[in-house]
Symmetry: C2
Subunit: 204 residues, 2 copies
DNA sequence: CCGCGATGTGGCACGCAGTGTCAAGATCGG
DNA sequence: CCGATCTTGACACTGCGTGCCACATCGCGG
């Protein structure tokens, strides 16, 4: 238990498991996008993936998980982009630039990105969980990178400045995403993100 | 349908409904705090409130709703405090000061506040929904107040600056809440909030 | 070659959330 | 007092998530 093999593969068995999981996610998302989240039953997903209902729950702890599983890689992308920014750059600017990676990804596969966003938006139960996980994943991944670049904290007690920065930026992203969804597919994500983040912290 | 009576009461019938709803919420929260959220069944809550399982769902759309119902009044408190700030004050400062209302409320009933926080924290499904609702309620209520105090937007397109400000501040609150929960009941909420919000937007 | 344990899978049954439906009871207006 | 309306409780049903068990597959040593 607890292999530890992180990146591509390790156990022969492990790879098969990954493949099955990916297949379930693929066929599941397809059904969700076509029929909606709630109307699609686990039974259907399992059948479409060629497994039993019971086995579905051995790969995903819940139906939600199929949708939510995309987040970790997205967080990794942002963290990577963040680490690549110069260390002496203003952290807020670094955050803004790191988000360009998301923008690029969204532009690359516009249908998928917009479909996912629409799906999240019209499924109350998912929207909150997604936002929460996003926060957790991004704060956990990006805050350490930011923390190194901050001047030492004056007083005693815990230092939550980096987390606050990331959370605030994430709040801006969420608002921009909402605005884009409301404004249709022709909204300029990057420009709105500039507006939002500049409003919060006017760069001196 | 759609009475429209907003504030205290109106229909004779309406008051009874409010009372029953409040009673369900009270007994429900008591059970949640004692047994935890998931182990407590709707059946138990209904029995403790002296109604049938079916009637429970006539007052609350879901079990989650019992916990989540506290948010609207909290949002109202903040909005009120925000509106009371001078119009020429920096919006970020106004936001910070408005949050003092929450701090005061949390201090007043420390057990309830901390219990609720702990409950949310250890129930994955609730945490996300709570945060999402909080965002929605507070942005919806507070952003219009902020928007009036902002200088007119230069370019064309939608103005999301006020929403971004509120969302960013809310991100700070969330981080501080997490830190307080992690640090135990002796953490200084107000001081940490100062630190977080100052890190995001150093007041010039 | 044959057991033998370990792991993965499907089937079954269960508990619980949430919804539709319907019959009975309370309430209010006439 | 009586009918219209609203509320309530009871039953049934779908669907998610889980525990349990029997069966199949695979790698190992006897």
């Amino acid at each position: 238990m607890g292999q530890g093999t992180a990146a591509p593969a390790g156990g022969l068995r492990e790879r098969a498991r990954r493949a099955i999981r990916a297949e379930i996610a693929r066929v599941g998302m397809e059904l969700f996008l076509r029929k909606g989240f709630e109307p699609t039953t686990v039974e259907e997903i399992a059948a479409a993936a060629g497994i039993s209902r019971r086995s579905f729950f051995r790969y995903f702890g819940s139906k939600d998980e199929v949708v939510l599983a995309h987040l970790d890689e997205l967080a990794a992308t942002v963290t990577e982009a963040l680490a690549a920014r110069p260390a002496d750059e203003d952290p807020w600017v670094s955050l803004r630039r790191a988000f360009d990676a998301i923008v690029a990804e969204a532009e690359a596969d516009r249908a998928a990105g917009f479909g996912l966003a629409r799906l999240l938006n019209e499924t109350e139960a998912l929207r909150g969980q997604y936002a929460e996980r996003q926060k957790r994943a991004w704060v956990g991944a990006a805050a350490p990178v930011i923390a190194e670049r901050l001047p030492p904290l004056a007083g005693p007690g815990p230092d939550i400045r980096a987390e606050a920065l990331v959370a605030a930026a994430l709040g801006c992203v969420a608002i921009v995403a909402d605005a884009c969804l409301a404004g249709g597919p022709d909204a300029d994500f990057a420009a709105l993100l500039d507006q939002a983040m500049a409003a919060v912290r006017p760069l001196g």
